[in-house]
Amino acid sequence: MKGLLIKDLCNLRQIGKQTVIVAAVLVAWSIFMNTPQVFSMVIVIYCMMLMFTAMSYDEMANFDKYAMTLPVTARDLVRTKYVLLLILFGAGLLAGFLEEGISFLAGAREDISLVEAGAALLVTAFLYLMAFEVLLPVMFRLGMEKARLFLVLIFVVIFGILSGGVMLMKNLGIQLTAQLVMALIGAWAALAVAGFFLSYRISVGIVRKKEW
């Protein structure tokens, strides 16, 4: 698995400059528009979208077929992509938290507390993670081109469920207290973690059945 991960990171290294430019533009945007949350929210999804780049390189080169002739199992192939997803998720989240922290230190966020900003970032990041948990089996099953079309659909469905949940709470007259928000974030994160393992198992099943 280590070798496959090195390959993915070598592939992504090629768009390192591009990533720095994107980050710089986002920082500039956040400063000039006085909306620091834009950077943190966008950088997480940008990092996770690099999954598409990594898997597209493999697909273009037909690498997975070759990999299956190496001392590598279908499980290794899938596990590498899920580890990469976690690395990208972690990197995006770290960049987001750093930016939020700096903007608070610089006094640019007076509207909400640091905890609230962090919680908002976490909820959004886990939303993205859940979207990719749904998407990864689709990527393995249908390939990158078709999976891209599913991305929008997946976000629409997840946002729909979230909005539905919020509306339901309003209709039921449930007040959003700090404790309830923290409990919801915890449940949301737990759902994302459970979804991660379920998605992994589904992807392993798909790749095992695949003919190359």
């Binding site: 280590k2 090195i6 390959k7 290294r13």
Partner: protein, 290 residues
Amino acid sequence: MEYAIEVQGLTKHYPGFTLDQVSFSVPAGSIVGFIGENGAGKSTTIKAVLDLIRTDGGEVRLMGRKNGAAFPEIKEQIGVVFDESYFPDNLRITDVDKIMKSIFRNWDSAVFFSYCRRFELPDKKIIKNFSRGMKMKLSIAAALSHQTKLLILDEATSGLDPVVRNEILDIFREFIQDEDHTVFLSSHITSDIERIADYILLIHKGRVLLFEEKDTLLDEYGIVRCTPEQAKTLDESQIAGIRRNQFETEVLVKDAEEIKRRGDLVVDRAALEDILLFTVKNEMEEGWRQ
């Protein structure tokens, strides 16, 4: 005799094509040339041997182990080269070394870089900027750098110029100097196979037509150029294939020496390409007759 690859009754059905009860054994320490026209079933057979497709019947043993390609410890000993390089375009040869070092327990960077130097592969360029020949050389260098015992090549020399092909064939000859080493090489370039193979495996429409030692095949087979009337005097069991044109009839015979002893017919040497063309054509005609 030890066998590097043993295939028994291998069957795989696709819509419009069936790999039909394919059986053969590749002796360890030999080069087996796997020939057949496009779509004959060479790649399907290789994919089945490498466990890249699910089969509908039959058994494959690699390095003595049933369904060996399913086991990483067996795959450690196998080098595979397909008709194209499957390394992503953004990598450099130093990246390939790093990656393979973490995949193969026996990866030998010194051997890999010595092949890269020998093939004059540029270490600064990304693979995207390599020529097709360079990409294939890189794939071969990678396939040979982990104490490989069995090299499986699927059309690895197709589309390469004669100079590069010659260079690659030399590498295979060197590789086979070690008695433990085996090469299973599929190609429709029969001249390459004729130059290096010890055994010839011919497949047509998913069925094995012949599996024979190359020297025996080339010594025994011959082409009789004669009139249609003379062709009729030949024993049916002798005829492996027949080709007619307005000037003469050419008959591929299985025992050239016996025909020579008759004294009334001219028997020419049959090249591997002739054997392929005659045998495949004969099978096609028999198919039409049925």
